[in-house]
């Protein structure tokens, strides 16, 4: 599998490197599919900043409607290389929303 590059909703080009995917994510977090990674980056349900690191961004995908992990959703951790580029660090499934500051969709005031 060659490196894959995805255009994210918030304007980044994020690369999923072959070694990261095959050697680490797919072998250690096999519950995440490549399709989920792609969809979470390109059409996320939420985008959050890392709870403390400005150089990280988290893309939350849509929840799974079926299957053994129904109701969970993929979280893709992206390392920001610069203002326009990033690299997938890891990905996993969670059932609780990520606690970082939500960047998208924008929070509405009340």
């Amino acid at each position: 599998m060659p490196d894959r590059v995805y255009n994210t909703l918030d304007g980044l080009q994020v690369v999923l490197e072959e070694e990261t995917w095959l050697k680490h994510i797919q072998s250690r977090h096999s519950e995440v599919t490549e399709l989920e990674v792609a969809e979470a980056l390109q059409d996320p349900a939420r985008i959050c900043s890392h709870t403390s690191r400005q150089s990280r961004r988290i893309y939350q995908g849509q929840p799974r409607a079926t299957g053994f992990f129904r109701g969970s959703f993929p979280l893709i951790v992206v390392a920001l290389i610069d203002a326009y580029n990033g690299r997938v660090v890891t990905a996993y499934l969670e059932r609780l929303p990520y606690r970082g500051q939500q960047l998208w969709p924008p929070l509405t005031g009340s």
């Binding site: 250690r28 977090h29 990520y98 970082g100």
Partner: protein, 159 residues
Amino acid sequence: MASSDRLLELDYDERGDVLYASLGAPQAALSYEIMEDVLLRYVPPNREVIGVTILNFSEHYPVPEEASLLSMAKSVVEELLRRYPLVPEPMEEDKDMPDEQESLRSVTIRKNPASYLLVATTTAGCTATVSATYDFRGPLLISNPIIQVGQAITKDDSR
């Protein structure tokens, strides 16, 4: 505990600075962020922790020499597994919530990490603003004594 019979397998992604650890061969699982960058791995409905993933590992656990990273990683993971043999209790998301509790799902989280201001919408369309304290290790606590997680908010309970 059965987990003590399984060997700890470690994998360190140096480029991403991610440590992956599993008891025995890695398997598909859900993750639970017990603290920043520390994920406990489990296969519901069983709450037993079967692995740990740590992001930004070298920043959280700096080592003086690269050669000792895996030995430190082993110690770190073993301590985490000792401290957290099970994921915290409120792993009830796989249970269907009664319809009257659906309104409590419509919350907007305003602030984090220590406290959240929640706006909960009732089924009747009324809104109630409550203060809550979120303990990452436990359930979401609602400081308002009237409104509790899982309790349907009626018009009389709103403020």
